[in-house]
Symmetry: C2
Subunit: 212 residues, 2 copies
């Protein structure tokens, strides 16, 4: 149910609040299933609106799903770019990137559960949107890597392959955090594993002779 | 529907054939959804048996899911072990492992679609079984890596971390093949990417000083 706040709301505020309630209801409802199995009617019922009112906010369940994909990635990608452009030392970039990822997974746990699940089991458009976001992460990383003196002269293909490997390790780290028991020691081991892996990858990259 | 063969069957053969039909029906039915949404009644209808007959073969839909997990991993793990123990050169082991993975994904495409989806969206027991199989792949790889002269003296923790990274890259490769367009050039790029990544990782590992 949409809660009513103490002071009177504007129409815009109310619309935004209902929209948020719809997004949150969808996240909660498909926790044990998938967007594929979610009906507009279920979401409307959970929010306390009539089914037709859903369309004032989203064209379809899939459009709602695409909005959740956006919410999950936009600020994460921006923050990862920031840490790479601010910190010159590679070890600091690795540690900073993992820290940002872990914080995001904590702050948006339901969102990242949604991403982990829909990436494999969602409707084709939503799977495609998630794949696209992950590819954007890779391309942005590749662009930043060209600014490193030891990696700069690499071929575009080797840069793509390296970025793909790093982003894949980050995705696996996020998924490991989501499926691990929620204890600090379990998470600490996952974070340590990711740090060591990214260091190994970087050492491999720095010793790699690219056919540029 | 279960097809009837030309010559008379023994009871055992018939039971086995129905069991196979149930497994295949489940694979086909949850192609666009997940085991979570699959009912025993649907499977029985597809196979052409009464719902109670299902229990002569499996205790539950989840038990059926666990059987599909077994079928997907048992021979794959055995063949990956074989290639590591037969080929002494690291580059050959990388190429051989990727080749085996790609062949398995082709031969058991429905099974690996099932694994990719249920790993993220399946019932908890099935997710757990898939995680367990992936961990077994990692442990078996770590055991084989200790036999390499340059890696042998590593700490158990670094070996675990390295094996986790390699297996993660293999999982991502399988998932990339499954979601790529089914054209030889698309698959060739995925395979080339995986080969370069595993070589980078190995170069990183060989230049890594483990705190053993």
């Amino acid at each position: 149910m949409v809660e009513t706040p103490a002071r009177p709301e504007s129409r815009g505020e109310r619309k935004e609040r209902t929209r948020r309630a719809i997004l949150d209801a969808a996240l909660a409802l498909c926790e044990d299933s998938s967007l594929v199995a979610l009906s507009l009617r279920q979401v409307a019922k959970e929010v306390g609106i009539v089914p037709t009112a859903f369309y004032r906010h989203f064209e379809s369940i899939e459009a709602l799903g695409l909005e959740l994909v956006d919410e999950s990635f936009v600020s994460l990608r921006a923050m990862l770019r920031d840490v790479r452009r601010r910190d010159p030392a590679l070890e600091d970039v690795i540690d900073g990137s993992i820290r940002i990822l872990v914080e995001h997974v904590h702050q948006q746990r339901a969102h990242f559960h949604f991403i982990a699940r829909e990436r494999a089991a969602g409707p084709p458009t939503v799977r495609g949107a998630i794949r696209h976001e992950i590819e954007l992460c890779e391309r942005e990383l590749a662009a930043d890597l060209t600014r490193l003196p030891d990696i700069g002269p690499w071929s575009a293909e080797d840069l793509r392959v390296l970025s793909n490997l790093i982003v894949m390790a980050m995705v696996a780290t996020a998924e490991a955090i989501l499926s691990a028991p929620r204890r600090p020691d379990a998470e600490k081991q996952i974070v340590e594993t990711a740090r060591t892996q990214l260091r190994m990858v970087l050492i491999g990259a720095l010793n790699w002779r690219s056919r540029s």
